[in-house]
């Protein structure tokens, strides 16, 4: 029963996330690139997307995180690492370069698949390739 309710929450929050990315025009890559083009004709619209999203989580997370556990689960599954290491910096830097080239980050790349265009399909294929390449690279480092 609890697992079914959890699944309902997952699908519902997925729908809200996807609808939100559409409504906020994050799936329009020209709009995203216009927002990242600080050195050119800057389009500030997407400031409101991050502002709206973080504005909500900054408030709601203050009430959620002090609770002993989530409503439908035993515990919160949160990232535990707090250190700022080279891997974090390098990863974020590479991600930003890719975002600047493609105009999609992972969420909008997935949602843009509904547009029926070739761009998001190629983007997601390459994203999966890059993710698997990184997994292989990290495995090499451990041997």
């Amino acid at each position: 029963m609890k697992e079914n309710l959890q699944n309902v929450i997952v699908v519902l929050s997925g729908i809200l996330f996807g609808f939100g990315l559409g409504l906020s025009q994050m799936i329009d890559r020209d709009r995203v690139l216009g927002f990242l083009d600080l050195m050119g004709d800057w389009d500030p619209t997407l400031v409101f997307v991050l502002g709206g999203a973080v504005g909500v989580t900054l408030i709601t997370f203050r009430f959620i995180l002090p609770r002993p556990h989530p409503f439908l689960a035993e515990r919160f599954e949160l990232p535990t690492r707090r250190d700022i290491d080279g891997r974090l910096l390098m990863g974020a830097a590479i991600f930003g370069i890719g975002w600047g080239i493609a105009g999609y980050c992972p969420g909008p790349g997935i949602v843009a698949l509904v547009l029926g265009l070739a761009n998001p399909v190629i983007f997601m294929g390459a994203l999966i390739g890059g993710s698997l390449a990184c997994r292989w690279y990290l495995k090499q480092g451990r041997n």
Binding site: I9, V10, V11, G14, F17, G18, F19, G20, G22, L23, S24, Q25, I27, D28, R29, L33, L38, G40, T45, L46, F48, V49, L50, G51, A53, G55, V56, T57, L58, T60, I64, H69, F71, A73, E77, L78, P79, L88, G91, A92, A93, G96, G98, G100, I101, C105, P106, G107, G109, V111, A112, V114, L117, N119, I122, G125, A126, G130, S131, C134
Partner: protein
């Protein structure tokens, strides 16, 4: 309609993304990080089934917007296969290496007041802005 004003729809859309992250954390105790969802489903493990459901929900939500709500469809843009291949590969590699993207580090990490996520957001915003500047104003692409 008010949501036809770009900054209003951006703000409301952002708010819905924040609400989504709130529900997922408040009820299920999970972080709405999309690159983590993709990496999770790629492992194919049984415990990752919920991540498939979330991604499915995202596609349904996107279709509801595009074909049910939007008065004008999302602009089609130019076909850019090389940018998709190179950009997509770097996004996939970088988000796994750095453990997160705009949603995990941005929407959720900043909401958790994580310094690690704040640093990641500043770095990827800076390199994204530098990349677009370089491509548009130096290379003229």
């Amino acid at each position: 309609m008010l949501t036809d004003v770009p900054w209003v729809s951006a703000l409301v859309g952002g708010g819905l993304i924040g609400l989504s992250a709130t529900l997922l954390l408040g009820f299920n105790g999970r972080i709405a990080g999309i690159s983590g969802m993709v990496n999770g489903v790629l492992t194919g493990a049984a415990g990752e089934r919920w991540r498939w459901l979330f991604l499915l929900g995202m596609v349904i939500g996107g279709a509801l917007y595009e074909y049910g709500w939007a008065s004008e469809g999302t602009p089609r843009g130019e076909f850019a296969p090389w940018m998709m291949m190179v950009g997509g590969f770097l996004v996939g590699f970088g988000t796994r290496l750095g453990n997160g993207c705009t949603s995990g580090h941005g929407v959720c990490g900043l909401g958790r007041l994580s310094l690690r996520s704040l640093v990641a957001v500043l770095v990827f915003m800076a390199t994204a802005i530098a990349t677009v500047g370089m491509m548009r104003h130096v290379l003229g692409l």
